[in-house]
């Protein structure tokens, strides 16, 4: 199986992220694991906040997710997090619901990207 991962429209600008943290691939892998775990916790909190119409929490979680996404050069996740932050600020529940769906889709895309990358690395090592 020959898998090639294109940088174009990928959920993470991998080279930029790697450069930002000083080139340590192992550390970046660790950070991505932390991010995915953190995201799933925040996702639950956002879902709950939408249900309870807790706009302060929507704003806060959006803001925090935005920071984490930006640190790891994930432009779309960053943008969507900002959208969620604004939804909380504007008390716009409809915007929050739409954004949550988009965030989830992008999260899935990111997880797949990371998984594929890991598979590719293992294949390269075997050769």
């Amino acid at each position: 199986m020959n898998i090639q991962i294109s940088q174009k429209n990928s959920p993470i600008e991998y080279s930029t992220a790697l450069n930002r943290i000083g080139g340590d691939r192992t550390f970046l892998s660790e950070l991505l694991r932390v991010y995915l775990n953190d995201f799933s916790i925040r996702y639950s909190k956002l879902k709950n906040a939408i249900r309870k119409k807790n706009f302060f929490l929507l704003h806060k979680q959006g803001h925090e997710l935005k920071g984490a996404s930006a640190n790891l050069s994930m432009p779309l996740l960053e943008q969507l997090s900002y959208q969620m932050e604004q939804a909380g600020k504007e008390k716009n529940i409809k915007k929050a619901k739409t954004t949550l769906e988009e965030l989830y889709r992008e999260y899935v895309r990111l997880s797949n990207f990371i998984l594929l990358r890991e598979i590719t690395s293992k294949n390269c090592l075997r050769r």
Binding site: R20, E30, V34, H63, G67, L72
Partner: protein, 301 residues
């Protein structure tokens, strides 16, 4: 090592910052909320603080204001971490007392140089504090003998007198001077006389208790302030000082000199010692009596 605090509730930011700052040689402390940050700041004497804007319990801005309210000698250099779109908040942050800010996602090299700037300021401040301490030391010490100077020993006497009154404990005092010092100066010259003063001062310093204070009161006069000291004990100490000077000759260059001192001693155990001035005048009179009775002796009043 400069002590650096990272306060950020975003685990990604925290991990990245911690890794970089440890690599750059800082002593790093990390917390994920503002209240914990304030506790660590007080406990660990933090020199540089990297504070996230939004945190649980206490925001970066409010934490900044708290830190600035603490009036201590040592400065804390504060850098606020803010996201790209919130630059308007920067003005609020700098007004609250932050020294600098860094936008997320931060550039590693930019962060390094900004922290270098902070380190430079902290080191400058430490140098300034050290200079201040040295100046204060010089201001209270006699440059020739390195004992406390007259102003300082009198100030200490006043302070110890009040404490003795409060705690109802006795305070002893010994006034002493070098016998025939003028003759030494006239015979060998003033520079030689200075060396004699130095040697005598050193012996006196080595023979009082660790919490006693001794200062140069006049040209060849010294004053010892003895906290928690009865008249009997003060007399014992005075006699010890006398013997330490007269029993062993003083060697300067190739000359061996026999030196003696006369001492006047009193304590607040004595009635009517109702002020430091009274203690001084009584011990001075006792010293005068010691001189009159033939020198090289202790007189107790």
């Amino acid at each position: 090592m400069i002590r650096l605090l990272i306060a950020d509730d975003d685990p990604i930011s925290m991990k990245i910052l911690e890794k970089h700052t440890r690599e750059w040689g800082f002593e790093v402390y990390t917390v994920n909320d503002g209240k914990k940050a304030l506790k660590i700041f007080k406990k660990k004497n933090i020199q540089i603080a990297l504070l996230d804007w939004m945190m649980p319990h206490l925001s970066g801005i409010d934490l900044c204001k708290h830190i600035r309210k603490q009036i201590g000698e040592e400065y804390t250099y504060i850098v606020l971490l803010t996201s790209r779109r919130d630059q308007d908040d920067v003005i609020e942050g700098l007004t609250a007392g932050a020294d600098d800010y860094i936008t997320k996602p931060f550039n590693r090299h930019e962060l390094k140089v900004r922290l270098k700037t902070g380190s430079r300021i902290i080191n400058l401040q430490l140098q300034l504090l050290e200079s201040k301490r040295k100046i204060q030391e010089i201001a209270i010490h006699d440059s020739l003998t390195t004992l406390l100077n007259r102003a300082e020993i009198i100030r200490i006497l006043s302070e110890e007198f009040e404490q003795a009154q409060r705690e109802k404990k006795p305070l002893g005092i010994i006034m002493l001077d070098i016998d025939h010092f003028k003759k030494i100066n006239d015979t060998f010259g003033h520079p030689f006389g200075d060396l004699v003063l130095n040697k005598v001062a050193l012996r006196l310093k080595e023979n009082v208790r660790i919490y006693d204070k001794i200062g140069r009161y006049g040209g060849e006069e010294f004053l010892a302030v003895l906290p928690n000291c009865s008249l009997d004990k003060a007399a014992q100490i005075a006699e010890r000082l006398r013997l330490t000077i007269c029993k062993r000759k003083i060697k300067i260059d190739t000359k061996l000199l026999s030196i003696s001192i006369s001492l006047g001693c009193t304590s607040t155990e004595n009635l009517n010692m109702n002020s430091p001035e009274k203690l001084l005048s009584t011990s001075d009179y006792a010293l005068y009596e010691a001189k009159k009775k033939g020198r090289n002796r202790v007189v107790i009043i």
